[in-house]
Amino acid sequence: MAFNSHRDFFQVLEREGELARVKKEVDWDGEVGAIGRKTYESQGPAILFEKIKDYPEGYMISNGTTGTWSRVALSLGMPRRATVRQIYKEYETRVAEKIPPRLVGKGDAPCKENIMLGDDVNLYEFPMPLIHEGDGGRYVGTWDIVINEDPETRWQNWGMYRFMAHTKNWLTGWPQTTSQFAFIMNRSYLPYNKPMPVAIVLGADPLSHIIATAGIKPFENESFYVGGLRGEPVDLVKCETSNLLVPAHAEIVIEGEAMPDQIAPDGPFGEYPGYRSGTMCAGVAVRVKAITYRSKPLVTMIALGTPPDDSSIAASLTAAVAMKEGLLRHNVPITDVYVPPEGVTHLIVIGVTKGGTETTRKILDFFTRRRVMTNKHIVVDADVDVFNMAEVLHCFATRCHPGRGILYEWYEGRSNSLTPFYNPEERKKLKGCSVAFDSTWPPEWEKEIVPIKASFNTIFTKEMIEKVNSNWESYGIKL
């Protein structure tokens, strides 16, 4: 049975030894972020901070809910030792089926237990963390689901974008200009100078947050994919101040309007590529009209930074599956796609059944033709396990010809301005460059000249392999 909320999920995490409850009082001003960061960097557990300085008893902050592959596995109801390949496969299978959400009334929506409206709205009543010292503000929206709607088609987009407190009833945030949030705002609100209703959701069920990171196609509702992933519908309830539908079991729902004609500073913020780099004061301003929340509410935080963390793990999963689907639709002969969390979606590994320059160029064209979030692509042969980075590195080191095997593509107007190595001008103009490393044997080479990999399974006869395997114990070598 699927988890309805973070609270259900924490029970399982605790049982599996994947949750630490911090009962000591901690400071929302830098301390929770520092603890969260150190824990990520030590591959530690999810954290529930149960006592927050300045805040009433019961108000909590969490970190790292699905910040490791084992916790992602648990969120899917899989054994915690499931391999990355198994998790990818399970995710891929489940999201192929879409299950529409179920609309519930206020009485069945724990997120409506408490309601602040209008002049009563006060974001500072919640323990919003200052995550990294030197951030532009207190980021209440890190592990969040941001919902907005295209009024013409009624498509409700879910995305994960950063939002910080500006004042007690204003947020500022930075969905990228190439995001679906921006697409809807530019298409349906800015031309008419209309504010756009927005809901920022904290602490829904864990799979809803994972799907919010996915690059689902425009005009497709993420809530349907959440249903497929859960194996049952997600419960949604209508907002107080708009027609947006939000997860009914969420901890906190911040309802507001993104303004078409007012701006205020956002950022800087230590972001998912693992750096805090110059992207600030170029976002959106949201006037908050209502906050609904559960009693003893939980602010779901991720102390974003160097990988791995929830962001890099979720993006690895959702992006890889989406990329694989896209490449197959474009007739690229792939075996699989891996997005190593360490590469923070900047680096992708693509396995192909037929390599060479033409395939590599097709892959580079696929990744650069629209919004470009990635920039380095290692293309490997089918005999390389894309999930095994040691094999991938060996393949890259030994098969990518420096003179013939590196393909580039420059572009403008669609790069990822969070990319740390872009200079300020490139970030402003969304200029960028992507590269593909053809690490495959040229398909035109005759079989006799293709090097044979000197590994146990490839350079010995089948008979010898069988003989050694069947006699292994008798050799007395413990592996």
């Binding site: 004042t167 800015l190 007012q262 500073p265």
Partner: protein, 99 residues
């Protein structure tokens, strides 16, 4: 002295004199980092300022300038934001208003 914080792209962008800016309240408590939109006189020294507060400057990657500046707030604006389109540079928008 009360302490505030503001962000600029480069430390050299901060100049002495009267200006419009957004400042963050560093007073401990639940409203720490609340933003005020102000008209203020900013200077490297508190000398000559009326009721000066400390103003810390941070650059666009969040790095803090070593030495504090000082600020005398003349007016707290009613508007929490400035006119502009989403994704426009707020600092440029404020600078244009000054001209």
């Amino acid at each position: 002295m009360k302490e505030w914080q503001t962000f600029v792209r480069r430390f050299s962008d901060m100049t002495e004199g009267k200006r419009e800016l957004f400042i963050k309240d560093l007073t401990p408590g639940t409203a720490k980092y609340d933003t005020k939109h102000v008209i203020a006189v900013v200077a490297r020294s508190a000398t000559g300022l009326t009721d000066p507060n400390i103003l810390w400057i941070r650059g666009e990657s969040g790095e803090k300038a070593v030495e504090p500046w000082y600020i005398a707030i003349e007016q707290v604006m009613k508007e929490d934001c400035v006119p502009g389109k989403p994704w426009e540079d707020v600092l440029d928008a404020v600078a244009k208003r000054a001209k």
